[in-house]
């Protein structure tokens, strides 16, 4: 089965981020979305440790460890960017001022519940960071994840079995096989990877899928 690469997934998410939007890219795969935003599109990147207008990583040797992102990696500040304290930073999220958060996930439910912070394993040390704040922290919550686990189980599930991060918060899911909107009617397919039929996608997806509204776009 042909699958989109992680780079292709990131490029696809970048298509949905528009000029002038305030965006938080989560740690890991979502961070790579920044590499696919065209230079002539002005997007405000927010990092929850207190930056708006975050720029790319500095050249080697020019790192400043007082200027880091949420993943604690050195970054830069674009002209016009600014710093603020943690309460202001999370007010931007909780207060609905951000347009988009892009997050990774273990599971997403048919109703948009998100599980991405904890496997629930009894010996795991719990750590949540900003995950639960991000889950409710933007007008659109976009999730990037593989369509299936390594053992082939669907990560889109009727009900999350991992501990929840947020309830009914996810608006769109980008997997390596499809782009799927979480709507009041259910999970609606937007796009499918070339060579995969809707029926085949449904067979490996644990929630009922709705057909695309318009013609399926293969990329």
């Amino acid at each position: 089965m042909k699958r989109w690469t992680r780079e292709q997934m990131a490029a696809r998410v970048a298509l949905d981020i528009h000029e002038g939007e305030y965006v938080n890219l989560g740690i890991g795969l979502p961070t790579s979305v920044a590499n696919h935003l065209p230079r002539d599109r002005e997007v405000f990147l927010h990092s929850e440790n207190g930056v708006l207008g975050m720029g790319p990583a500095p050249p080697q040797g020019e790192e400043d460890f007082d200027l880091i992102n949420a993943g604690k990696q050195p970054v830069t500040l674009l002209p016009g960017g600014c710093y603020f304290h943690h309460a202001d930073s999370f007010a931007m999220m909780r207060g609905g001022h951000l347009d988009i958060c892009v997050l990774g996930a273990f599971q997403v439910s048919a109703t948009g519940d998100l599980a991405n912070w904890h496997t629930g394993a009894p010996d795991a040390i719990p750590a949540v960071g900003g995950a639960m704040d991000l889950a409710i922290g933007a007008k659109r919550i976009l999730v990037m994840m593989e369509h299936q686990t390594k053992s082939g189980e669907s990560k889109l599930v009727p009900r999350c079995t991992y501990p929840l991060t947020g309830v009914g918060c996810v608006t769109r899911v980008y997997t390596d096989l499809a782009v799927i909107d979480i709507t009041p009617e259910g999970a609606r397919v937007v796009e499918i990877v070339a060579g995969l039929s809707f029926e085949e996608l449904q067979r490996i997806t644990a929630v009922p899928l709705l057909e695309p509204l318009a013609t399926t776009v293969n990329i």
């Binding site: 710093y83 943690h86 719990p126 995950a131 409710i136 929840l164």
Partner: protein, 231 residues
């Protein structure tokens, strides 16, 4: 003459007693007041409750305070990191208590304490294990969880510049929890890279007004640069 400047970090922390609740600024290693933490280790106060975003990195700073067995409980959002082995070992041995708080709730609980708010409803963590047992409420069609402020006896923070009235400015993302912790503690102690004359800080740009700060202590060199070089 008001002079909040104290001569050394050891003077600054000399009255922190056993059992105190101490907020420590910093996110990762940016904004961690390393000199004050080292002084707190020398001071030897035990049975402390520590509030920080993390639970220490490697063997320095907060991790060293944990290693010295001075901490009974930690309130934080993200204890588990690749280099949090000191915390991990204490936690697995049942020798430290953990209160895990979503990062934004942690920030707002600290802010609320400083602002005199008795409690607040937040949408964060609704329906998750971290809201279990907490009061909830439906307001205008959205679910919220009741959260209470976190007050502290002391806050140890790091700033770039300070004056003798306690006005502070920070450096880049090292600001993080500094301003809100300063307001939430009975006694806030700031280590600063530079002491400046009264009036030297642009009043339009003061980030933490001196009313929130009790003690300012100059430190030689720049701890963050030292850390960067060590890392």
């Amino acid at each position: 003459m008001i002079d909040k400047i104290v001569p050394s970090v050891d003077h600054a922390v000399a009255d922190i007693p056993d059992g105190a609740t101490v907020m420590i600024g910093g996110f990762g290693t940016a904004g961690i007041p390393f000199a004050l933490i080292d002084a707190l280790i020398r001071r030897g106060a035990r049975d402390l409750t520590i509030v920080n975003n993390n639970a220490g990195n490697a063997d320095t700073g907060l991790a060293a305070l944990l290693k010295a067995r001075q901490v009974r409980k930690i309130i934080c959002s993200f204890p588990r990191q690749t280099d949090s082995w000191v915390f991990d070992a204490l936690y697995r041995a049942g020798e430290i208590e953990l209160e895990l708080v979503p990062q934004g709730n942690l920030a707002e609980r600290i802010r609320a304490a400083g602002a005199g708010i008795g409690a607040f409803y937040t949408p964060t963590a609704y329906g998750t294990p971290l809201a279990q047992g907490k009061e909830t409420r439906l307001i205008d069609g959205r679910h919220y969880v009741l959260e209470y402020p976190i007050h502290a006896d002391y806050a140890l923070i790091k700033a770039l510049k300070g004056d003798r009235w306690g006005n502070l400015v920070y450096r880049k993302t090292a600001r993080n929890f500094g301003p809100i912790m300063a307001s939430a503690a009975k006694c806030t102690i700031a280590e600063v890279s530079e002491i400046v004359e009264l009036g030297a800080l642009d009043p339009e740009c003061v980030v933490t007004p001196g009313i929130f700060v009790k003690r300012v202590v100059p430190i030689r060199g720049d701890a963050s640069t030292a850390t960067a070089n060590a890392a």
